[in-house]
Subunit: 260 residues, 2 copies
Amino acid sequence: MRLFGILGDPIDAVRSPDFYNAEFARRGLDAVFLPLLVRAEDLAMAWRGLTHVANFDGLVLTMPHKRAVVPLLDEIGPTARLTDAVNTARRLPDGRWEGEMFDGEGFLGGLRAAGHDPAGRTVLLVGAGGAGRAIAFALAGAGVLALDIADADGGSASSLANAIGGAFPDCTTRAVDPDPGPHSVVVNATPMGMRANDPLPFDTARLAAGTVVADVVPNPEVTPLLAAARDRGCPIVTGQQMFEAQAALAMGFLGLAEPR
Amino acid sequence: MRLFGILGDPIDAVRSPDFYNAEFARRGLDAVFLPLLVRAEDLAMAWRGLTHVANFDGLVLTMPHKRAVVPLLDEIGPTARLTDAVNTARRLPDGRWEGEMFDGEGFLGGLRAAGHDPAGRTVLLVGAGGAGRAIAFALAGAGVLALDIADADGGSASSLANAIGGAFPDCTTRAVDPDPGPHSVVVNATPMGMRANDPLPFDTARLAAGTVVADVVPNPEVTPLLAAARDRGCPIVTGQQMFEAQAALAMGFLGLAEPR
C-alpha cells in the first residue's frame, strides 16, 4: 500500500484526505491519504521519521509548515525556490525528497476558472505567510499592475513586497494596511475564517461593489468574509476552487495524474 | 482521525491492517490502521518521527523491530521487560510512549483455543527472536515441563535458555538442534514459511504422530510446515489463531476494547 499524507496544525478541516482518497477509490489504487497532526515544534523530527517509512511516497504541507519544511528537503523546484515555501513533496527514485509549491498556480487556476484574469489589475493581498507568498509571486507573474500586501507582521509584508519588486520590476508592490477600497481584486491568504469566531481579515464595509474577493480558506466553503462580500455584490472565488486547481497540479507532481 | 500502524520489513503479508480496519469499520470509529514499511536501519528515525505525529495513537511492531524498539520507548510493561521485546506501543496521556509484548499470551491463547494445554508438556521451540522469546516465557509461565530451544544462531538459543532457566527454575531448558522427535509440542517461531520457496524450519520426517505443531507465520494460513505436519497426522495450530488472540489483547492495550 502506498501512503500519502498532509502535515498541519490544525488538521481537522483540511480537504486533501477526502479529495485524494476519493480519487484513489475511483481509480482502484492501493493507496491512502492521511491527515497527520504535526505541531510546529515537531516538524523536523516528524518529517525525518515519515520520510524514513519506505512506503510513504508523498507528503503535502499546510499551516504552519510550508516555509519551515524547505530546509528539510533534498531538492526544491523552481517555484519553491522563488517563494521559499513548499506545499507538496515527493520521494524521488533514489530515495531523496523533492518539494514544490503549487498554491500560487492553484490560486490562479481557481481565479481563472471563476472567470477572472488578474492581468492588468490592482490587487490587495492580505497575509504574507506560505500561501500568501506563493500567491504574490503567481499574481506578479500573471501580470498584475499593482500588488499591495498587508500582514499583521509588517516586516513580513515589506519583505515579500521587496522580493516581488526584485523578481518582477514591472509590478508595483508595497506593504500596506489591509484597506480593500481601491483594489479590483482582494485576496485573503490568512487563516482567518477557519474558525467560527475569527474576526474578518479586513473591513468589508470598505469593499467596492465589483471588487473580486478571493479566500484561500477552503472550509467552510463560503467563509464569513465571502458571505459579507457576496452581500455587497462582489464576485467571490472560494478556497475550494483554489484547492481543486492546486490539488490537480500536486497530484501530477506526485505521479498520480490520471493515465490518458 | 486516529492513526495506528504496524512497522515491519517485509510488510505486505501482515494481517493487522485488515483486522483492525475491519474492526474500526464495524464500530464506526474515525480511525485507520496502516502498513508502514520501515527498514531495520531506519527504525530509530522512523519511530521518533511517527511518535511526533500527534494523531498517531498506537504502533504495532513486527520483524525485525520487536527487540530494537525497546530502547526507544519511555515505558515498558512487565512482559516486555521480561522478554526484552515489544509488539505493541501506545501513546500515554502525557505524550510518552509505553510498550508491551502480547505475542506470548497470544500464542497461548491460540494454543488453548485449539484445545491444547501446554502444562506438563515437553516443547521444542524453533526460533529465539522477538516472537520466540515471548513464546518461551509464556510457555514457561504456563508450566511446561521441559523447553528445548533451537536457533540458527546458537548463541541466541543459549541466551534465551539461560534467561528462562533463571526466571522459571522448575522448567528444564536447553539449547538444542531442531529435532522434533521427542517433543509433544513443536513451535515454529522463525519467519520460515512466509515465502513460497523457504526451507522448512526442521525435518518433518522426524515428527511423531500426535505431536502438536504450531506456527507463528500467519500467512499463508496453512504454511508448508503445517501442511506437512497435518499429512503426518499431527494436530496443528495456525499463526492466524495466534494472531487473533494476540490482536484482541493488543486492542485492549491500545484502548480499543469493545465497550460492554
